[in-house]
């Protein structure tokens, strides 16, 4: 137990009473990174100098009553979120030396809430991957077992939070990139409703699916972080004007009378028996707290994964067209003309998985194939959304596993590319439907690897989601387990 394990209120009380300083918190984070990050590779950039400088500034204001909600807390940022004057690489050679000239809206909000940024975190290149094996700067290792993947694409943030290198982290989720690594690393990951959190400054992968959200060690921290992140931003045209409730006060433990839908497709043959056991045990806990469990169906789960890969790759092929070596990013040397420059730059800058998805997307959108792939996938998306609409007419939340198994071995799923795509089967339907969902730790398998329970909510009903997750957490001890490092 370190000071980074203390509850947020406790930290703030101690800061107020001058029993603790922000500098101590930041040192604790930096020292932990020094101690364990050689083995994890969760960080791409550690900005110690500026973090310590900021800590000193904040310490001068520690006695003031009016403090930011995240005052003094060390936060890590996934490296696809733009940070002014701090390298933002997307774990790609294409942006290896790219230093943004602006902060993403979420970064501005974190700073306004007086959090301290520690550094930028490893990920699958351009957030494309489910295991963090696609980073151009090395794979991330799972803190529970270094031979296993941490999940992706936000492997760095999840591994770092599990290892207590930071208090919490910001990540992004397009088809499961927050929830899958949260499940594999035994931490809490929340993907907000599409439109709740500004995407301004998030390097776009698939714009109709991407959302930024928190990865934290418990549900309460997720509520605090979401409180700061949520809200309309005129700089994101898909940002929604909606009242932001008090997420923290929703954590009252009362789930009596709630109806929880459990999709039979999420508890079927493709799911590892141990994962199902843990989720069933979790459902029993919730039932004892007064919730009604009801079997429901998401009949398009199987086909949603293909729809997801067509849509996300199509949007990616368009979004990543901006990386042409002209205005920013790496530029290839010795090009004969502009076309040659584009091709050389992109071929040298992108890794194999990014190229594959750009190729799939380009093919899906190309003349003669558009109707067969992209248009059909968009229609499938409508069906996926309708499935959830039907369920939410009679359920408050939907619960199932986050992943089909626990963390797999590094290299185990890289032989056939589509094996890896199957990893997202339980998470990507949520992105297609724009819903909020989170993964919370619900125990371990016989090898000591964490299992994640996924809770899916109605659009913009993060309060209920957090309430259920919190009630579960308060009645179990899974979130207190820590990896031996």
């Amino acid at each position: 137990m370190t000071i980074l394990d203390l509850r947020l209120q406790e930290i703030h009380d101690q800061l107020q009473k001058k029993e603790l300083t922000v500098s101590q918190l930041i040192h604790a984070s930096l020292e932990r990174i020094k101690e364990v990050d050689d083995r994890l590779n969760a960080f791409l950039t550690v900005d110690a100098e500026r973090a310590l400088q900021r800590a000193e500034e904040l310490d001068r204001h520690a006695a003031e009553k009016q403090k930011g909600l995240l005052f003094g807390l060390p936060v890590g940022i996934k490296d696809n979120i733009s940070t002014k004057n701090v390298k933002t690489t997307c774990a790609s050679r294409m942006l290896a030396n790219y230093v943004p000239i602006f902060d993403a809206t979420v970064i501005k909000k974190l700073f306004e809430a007086q959090a301290v940024m520690i550094g930028k975190m490893n990920m699958d290149e351009f957030a494309m991957g489910s295991s963090n094996e696609n980073s151009a700067f090395g794979i991330v290792h799972n803190p529970w077992d270094a031979e296993r993947v941490p999940g992706g694409s936000s492997g760095g943030p999840a591994a770092a939070v599990a290892a207590r290198e930071v208090y919490f982290a910001l990540a992004s989720d397009t088809g499961g990139s927050i929830r899958i690594p949260a499940a594999y690393c035994g931490v809490v990951g929340l993907k907000p409703s599409y439109g709740l959190v500004s995407r301004f400054g998030l390097v776009a992968y698939a714009s109709s699916l991407d959302q930024i959200g928190p990865i934290t060690k418990n549900v309460e921290d997720a509520a605090y972080l979401l409180q700061v992140l949520a809200g309309y931003d005129p700089q994101d045209s898909t940002s929604v004007q909606t009242d932001i409730p008090d997420y923290v006060s929703a954590l009252d433990g009362n789930i009596d009378g709630m109806t929880i839908g459990v999709p039979k497709e999420y508890m079927g043959d493709g799911i590892s028996p141990e994962v199902k056991e843990r989720v069933n045990e979790a459902l029993q806990v919730l039932e004892k707290l007064g919730a009604n469990i009801k079997e429901v169906s998401l009949p398009h789960t199987e086909s949603s994964i293909a729809a997801y890969y067509i849509i996300s790759s199509s949007e990616a092929s368009s979004n990543l067209a901006r990386f042409d070596g002209i205005r920013y990013g790496t530029r290839a040397e010795e090009a004969d003309n502009l076309m040659d420059l584009y091709k050389k730059t992109r071929s040298q800058g992108f890794g194999p998985e990014v190229k594959r998805r750009i190729m799939l997307g380009t093919h899906s959108l190309s003349s003669g194939y558009y109707d067969a792939y992209y248009l059909k996938a968009q229609k499938a998306r409508t069906l996926v959304k309708q499935d959830f609409d039907n369920i939410f007419a009679e359920c408050d939340v939907v619960i199932g596993p986050t992943t089909t198994s626990t963390a797999f071995k590094i290299g185990e799923k890289t032989e056939d590319v589509t094996d890896m795509y199957q990893e997202d089967i339980l998470t990507c339907p949520v992105n297609l439907a724009g819903l909020p969902a989170m993964s919370v730790p619900c125990g371990f398998d016989s090898q000591g690897l964490p299992v994640g329970m996924q809770i899916i909510g109605k659009a913009f009903d993060e309060s209920t989601l957090l309430k259920v997750a919190h009630a579960f957490e308060q009645n179990t001890e899974h979130h207190q387990a820590r990896p031996n490092l």
Binding site: V99, I101, I305, I326, N337, A380
Partner: protein, 102 residues
């Protein structure tokens, strides 16, 4: 599904502005075939889609234009905007010749 022909791979790579090595072309012919076979799972929905006349959805939010007032805001200084360009001259980004000599 059989592998894609080398010409098909080259065509898509050109559209995507990628230059592939011979080795990559071989690997992509195989990978693309397996990914496209995977993607064809959406075809299992054909009957349902036509029976229910399902409309495509590009975004979960209702689509509407988002306008703002045409007010002057502070903009990025040119020097800042050029900071990440690989090459620039006279406050402009410098690129190789656009016209091909053929």
């Amino acid at each position: 599904m059989s592998e894609l022909t080398k010409e098909q791979v080259e065509h898509v790579a050109h559209l995507a502005r990628l230059e592939l090595s011979e080795e990559e072309k071989k690997a992509f012919a195989k990978d693309m075939a397996s990914i496209l076979e995977f993607a064809q799972q959406v075809n299992t929905l054909d009957d349902e889609l036509s029976r229910k006349q399902v409309a495509p959805m590009s975004n979960v939010l209702s689509i509407h234009n988002v306008f703002r007032e045409d007010e002057v805001h502070e903009s990025i200084p040119v020097e800042e905007a050029l900071k990440n360009a690989a090459d620039h001259k006279h406050q402009q980004v410098k690129v190789p010749s656009i016209l091909e000599d053929e």
